[in-house]
């Protein structure tokens, strides 16, 4: 498995070498039979490295497909891959892609810390950027109020909203005290706040008895679990999503936190689904798989083909970042081709941008679109877990499917107001 991954990364890295070998003061290539250059910025090391690699595979799958079926409006796609690290360095990578490699479009970014810092820079630089993920709604509202060059994914809070709805639907009246253990950054903070706001909206009286904020990447959660156990909650809400999620699960199971009747809600479990082994992950929890649930029986042929391709390459099953990456590429392709057709020739950046507004695509996980305010709409999958499957990790016993227009605020609305007033159709 490792050697396969390295090969993929080498293949992807190879395009990076090509780009870097260019002279320092390169003239823009204008010939239209040259490949379209798409820059990708994704994490490749550290705690989000897995996620970045899964996304890169989604991109690879999309590009293989595009290049073998005539490219984007006749032009093949060439990737230039750069590493997402901290905000400062990642922004320097963006500058390199845009100013030096002269890419036509930049896609990627997993961490909201990076995307929220990068958005304004992209606007300043007039660089077309499509974010895979990492766009918490208030952050986007603050740092990218009038997006023109940046295109955001669905609000990060969608998954928290959906699993809160499921918690209300399935467990109303069965819990009074709630506890949270969420990653210590805007994503985790917003998710837990959204959960509480939704409980309030549905008139569920509750009391928060513990809230824990472990730093992303903490590998020893014994003390956090002890604090949760001491609070004796009826329900635990946790949007942990990196390697700390399996650790939490194992630690909580070991300490007996899961022995009683406590309910568990994991809106982002899908990032780690295959690492949550049955032996320490009891069934009956709410798991969020975001925009791609690999085992969805009614999934499209495209999804099934991808899951099989992915499994052959990695002996693993993909998470939603692959879908986000595929979606970003699909939106870009649809935009360029629509603009190309409308103009009857190769479109400029502004043409592509206006064509991408409102464009609809089929992504791996299901239908999606790009709203006029540059926020994506996609299909979400969550449900209650079961052990009744052929894998060594739980899957969804019942699958709820929701389109994100029921899960995120509309254009120009305030998120917290929207939660109060929205008429959500389950």
């Amino acid at each position: 498995m490792n050697s396969k991954r390295r090969k993929l990364l080498q293949a992807l890295g190879g395009t990076g070498i090509l780009a870097a070998a260019q002279p320092w003061t390169s003239a823009p290539a204008f010939a239209q039979n040259t490949p379209l250059r798409v820059g990708i910025i994704a994490p490749r090391a550290g705690i989000a490295g897995t996620i970045g690699e899964c996304g890169l595979r989604g991109t690879q799958f999309a590009v293989d497909h595009i290049n073998s079926t005539g490219g984007i409006a006749g032009r093949k796609v060439e990737l230039v891959v750069e590493e997402e690290t901290n905000p400062k360095d990642s922004i320097e990578r963006l500058r390199k892609l845009v100013l030096q490699d002269k890419v036509d479009c930049v896609q990627g970014i997993v961490s909201s810390g990076v995307s929220l810092a990068m958005g304004p820079v992209a606007e300043d630089m007039k660089a077309l950027v499509i974010f895979w993920d990492g766009t918490t709604q208030d952050g986007v509202k603050e740092t990218m109020p009038d997006k023109h060059y940046a295109f955001c994914s669905t609000d990060n809070e969608c998954e928290a909203v959906m699993s809160s709805l499921l918690a209300v639907k399935h467990w109303k009246g069965q819990f009074k005290t709630v506890a949270g253990i969420n990653p210590d950054y805007s994503y985790g903070r917003n998710n837990f706040a959204a959960f509480q706001a939704l409980l309030k909206k549905f008139g569920i009286e509750h009391q928060v008895v513990a809230d824990q904020w472990p730093k992303v990447g903490t590998t020893d959660l014994n003390s956090h679990v002890a604090a949760l156990k001491a609070a004796k909650p009826d329900l635990v809400f946790s949007s942990l999503l990196f390697a700390d999620l399996p650790i939490f699960m194992r630690t909580a199971h070991g300490a007996g936190l899961m022995d009683g009747n406590t309910k568990f809600v994991f809106p982002a479990a899908g990032f780690q689904h295959t690492a949550l082994k049955k032996s320490f992950t009891p069934p009956g929890m709410i798991f969020g798989h975001n925009t791609l649930y690999f085992d969805y029986a009614k999934g499209s042929d495209l999804q099934k083909k991808f899951v099989q391709w992915y499994h052959e390459k990695t002996n693993d099953y993909p998470n939603w970042e692959a879908d986000r990456a595929f979606f970003a590429m699909a939106i870009y392709k649809a935009g360029v081709e629509a603009a190309h057709k409308a103009k009857g020739g190769w479109p400029g950046k502004e043409d592509v941008i206006s064509a991408m507004e409102g464009v609809k695509v089929q992504s791996l996980g299901g239908p999606g679109m790009m709203r006029k305010d540059h926020i994506a709409e996609q299909t979400f999958y969550q449900g209650i877990t079961t052990h009744d499957n052929k894998y060594d990790f739980p899957t969804l016993g019942t699958v709820d499917v929701m389109y994100s227009d029921q899960l995120q605020k509309g254009t120009g609305q305030d998120f917290w107001k929207w939660i109060e007033t929205a008429n959500i159709k389950m």
Binding site: A20, E82, P87, K88, E92, V98, Q100, G113, S186
Partner: protein, 319 residues
């Protein structure tokens, strides 16, 4: 001769935007910022002999100063931002310095590291105040009262802002030059060479170290403010200990025994890192390997290497 060389280098740096692509000019900006920060750092390290492994603390104060002043308090004048951020850094440096200058060597390094990490966890944990891991946006400031609203960010960065920073580096380098060649600078070197002897000669060792520490904080914050304006964001990584490590790396790469060493170090580090990141995903490995080479084979850094070659050249040409 030396003055001529400095002037040539200065003119060359000022002319870079005419030769280089905009991307490489935006790379020079952090190099300028680090040059300023490292001039201060080297007053402490090279001249006073105190190795701070938490110096990123002051760079972060400069960055967050620019962020808070520009986007929370609406202050747009870059001169005011620089002065206030640097003043904040000095205000923080004095109490820390009072504690830290009692130690030398590794203990000084560890204590400063602890303070740097203290600030990092404050930035990281107090989400409502500091924006947590995302940090705070830095809005584009006005330079000498001019806003340049007609320029987009890249043009502004590689145009007015670039020349502003070059000018700032020239001024601050000149001030530092005067400082290290003043009696104060000589006293610092004396305290490094032999503490007892310095005391005997009437040098108040701790007091002088404290002053050096505060000045280095001042320079660090100015560098940090430039860095943050360039990125458009101040984030907690600025204060993380590995960033402090990079500062030491740059200084040793350039050579801490030479006044201009840190500037050489800042420029070569930035371009080295950019090239490596473009070439391989294993750039950390090669960066580390180069650092080991420098430490083992060329402890006087690049500037030491140049000095040696220069000396050899002079010996061979009859004068």
């Amino acid at each position: 001769m030396k003055i001529a060389a400095v002037l040539v280098a200065f003119v060359a740096v000022a002319a870079l935007p005419r030769v280089l692509s905009p991307y490489h000019v935006t790379l020079v900006l952090p190099a300028l910022a680090y040059s300023i920060a490292l001039l201060g750092f080297n007053l402490l390290f090279g001249y006073t002999g105190l190795l701070s492994f938490g110096h990123a603390l002051f760079v972060a104060i400069g960055g967050y100063g620019a962020a808070v002043l520009s986007s929370k308090l609406g202050l747009r004048s870059f001169e005011a931002i620089l002065l206030l951020s640097a003043a904040a850094a000095v205000a923080v440096a004095i109490p820390i310095g009072l504690l830290a200058v009692r130690y030398v060597k590794i203990f000084f390094g560890i204590l400063t590291l602890a303070f740097g990490m203290l600030f990092h966890s404050f930035l990281f944990k107090f989400y409502d105040l500091t924006g947590g891991d995302t940090g705070i946006r830095v809005l584009r400031p006005s330079l000498l009262g001019r806003a340049y609203e007609d320029l987009d960010k890249t043009t502004w960065l590689v145009g007015p802002f670039y020349y502003y920073c070059v000018g700032l580096l020239a001024v601050l380098a000149f001030v530092m030059w005067r400082l290290v060649h003043s009696p104060f600078g000589l006293h610092l070197v004396a305290t490094r060479e032999n503490r007892r002897k310095a005391e005997y000669l009437g040098v108040r060792v701790r007091f002088f170290r404290l002053i050096a520490f505060s000045i280095s904080a001042f320079y660090g914050a100015i560098g940090g403010a430039i860095l943050a304006v360039n990125t458009g964001q101040a984030d907690p990584e600025l204060a993380y200990w590995t960033h402090s490590g990079e500062l030491v790396f740059m200084t040793v790469l350039g050579g801490f025994g030479n006044f201009f060493g840190p500037i050489v170090g800042a420029f070569s580090f930035i371009f080295l890192k950019d090239q490596l990141v473009g070439l391989t995903q294993y750039w950390r490995f090669w960066l580390g390997a180069i650092l080991i080479l420098i430490v083992v084979l060329f402890p006087r850094g690049l500037s030491g290497l140049v000095e040696r070659m220069w000396a050899r050249l002079h010996r061979s040409t009859p004068s």
